[in-house]
Amino acid sequence: MTVIDLSKQPNADSDLRLFLDTVCETHELDFAAYAGVNPIAQTVHGFVNYPDEWQKLYVEQGFQHRDPTLLTAARSIAPVDWVRLRQEDSFRTLFRAAHDFGIAEQGLTIPVRGPYGDIGLFSVTRNCSDKEWGLLKKKILGEMQHLAVHLHDNVVRSHALTRALTSPSLSARETEILQWVAAGKTQQDVADILNISNRTVEVHLRSSRSKLGALTTSQAVGRAIGLGLIHPN
């Protein structure tokens, strides 16, 4: 099971829900949620794969106005492990209610900051011991960061105005490296050709993937060709 590439999807709500489901299946998680604010388009997005009854109660109780996994976590640049929020009253109220739906306190929220003041909050949870949670978190955290930004970027770009403002802008180095990769060179080949370290090449590729909304380097190459940013010989 691989996580779906959202940039290829029409971005219907069902696809976003499917994205959350595959993230959970791939990474041994129970539930996932996304909430985002796009101040340019003045839109708010939210979707979750929590049980319907819990979603209903959540809205009825107005938890979105005091949920610390959203509101407090939004002020961090680092992923916020919910253990950090446990002493807040609002956290205890929320999770006392959530407990009846099999939703545990072990979870984390990844805050995403976009270039236009847009904020995305991607959160995941898993019912397990704190120790197990710690191990799982360490294993999946880097990947979760990438998925959170992929999801957020695609939601933000689903709005016509933001899409018009956010055409990918690669640096000269990123373009040069993608051009060599498109010509079939390996990462080490490119490092040797440009006389820079292998890891510098890797960092520029990672940045290119992020800017092009791609999950893999091949997708990034394909998209860069499609946008006329690089030209295969």
């Binding site: 909430a35 604010v37 101040p39 388009a41 003045q42 839109t43 708010v44 979105q64 106005h65 005091r66 959203l70 509101l71 407090t72 976590a73 939004a74 002020r75 961090s76 640049i77 680092a78 992923p79 916020v80 950090r84 995403v112 900051r113 976009g114 270039p115 003041g117 955290l141 880097g142 979760m144 960061q145 990438h146 959170a148 930004v149 709005h159 016509a160 105005l161 018009a164 802008s169 690669l170 640096s171 000269a172 180095r173 990123e174 820079i196 370290s197 890891r199 510098t200 960092v203 520029h204 990672r206 940045s207 993937r209 992020s210 800017k211």
Partner: protein
Amino acid sequence: MIIVVDGLNRDRYGRLLDEMFALRARVFGKRLGWEVDIKDGKEIDQFDALDPAYVIGVNDNGKVVSCVRALQTTGPHMLSDVFSAILDGDQPLRSPTIWESTRFCVDTEALDRGKTRNSVSYATCELMAASLEYAQESGISDIVTVIDPIMDRVLKRSDCAPYGYVGKTTPMGKVPAMAALLDCSDERIEKIRNFAGIEGNVFMDEDAAAALADPVAPEIDHSLFDAIMSAGPQPDAETRNMLEQYCHDQASAAQSRDELHAANRLAGVLFEAGMINRRKPKFFVC
């Protein structure tokens, strides 16, 4: 010892932050002569308003002796906004697993030479190791850091040489500045720790942190986020009017055919997005 102050706990550590801003004023304003804004002896810029994470070194007397600031590269940060000269007008890196580190400094007046725990060398290495460990703990694998050539030499001498650079070395006041790349790997952290003889956990425990907190802890202000979250899906009438007025002003102020086309294109995009009512008001003359 090291403490991390971020948007979640900054309301509790006003005193530490004030000392940190004062240290930055002495280092970047006076010693390095960078063009920074200093008010009331504190150096604070627009990025400090974005809830960055600060990794702060504190001595045994509870005084701030070192600090560095971290921001995500997916959103606004210094290389994308104000240090663009270093990138020679080129685009900055953007990745969920790369952070930018800026304003790295240590208090050379409060610390001494030599290699003891109270030395410049130890405090520098402790802060470097701590910031890499904090980033690694957050799922970050690389850091792009804005430094001067002196700091670059310090990194190389401390067995922590950057594995690469982006952009070029650019004058930034009395000294030039550059953007270096560091991996947040166990290997690099180990090398720094070995170099300075740092053992055990460098981050202070909850009790030590509580002892440094301000006397009264005010509630975190959620009002702004709440206001945005409850703003609703589409612009209200007033915003629509302002956007339409803006499009009108852009079109009227156009000096050339290209500018007029650009203004009309913007109006078109806003209209397509359902954010203004009229695509081409009567005053738009093409």
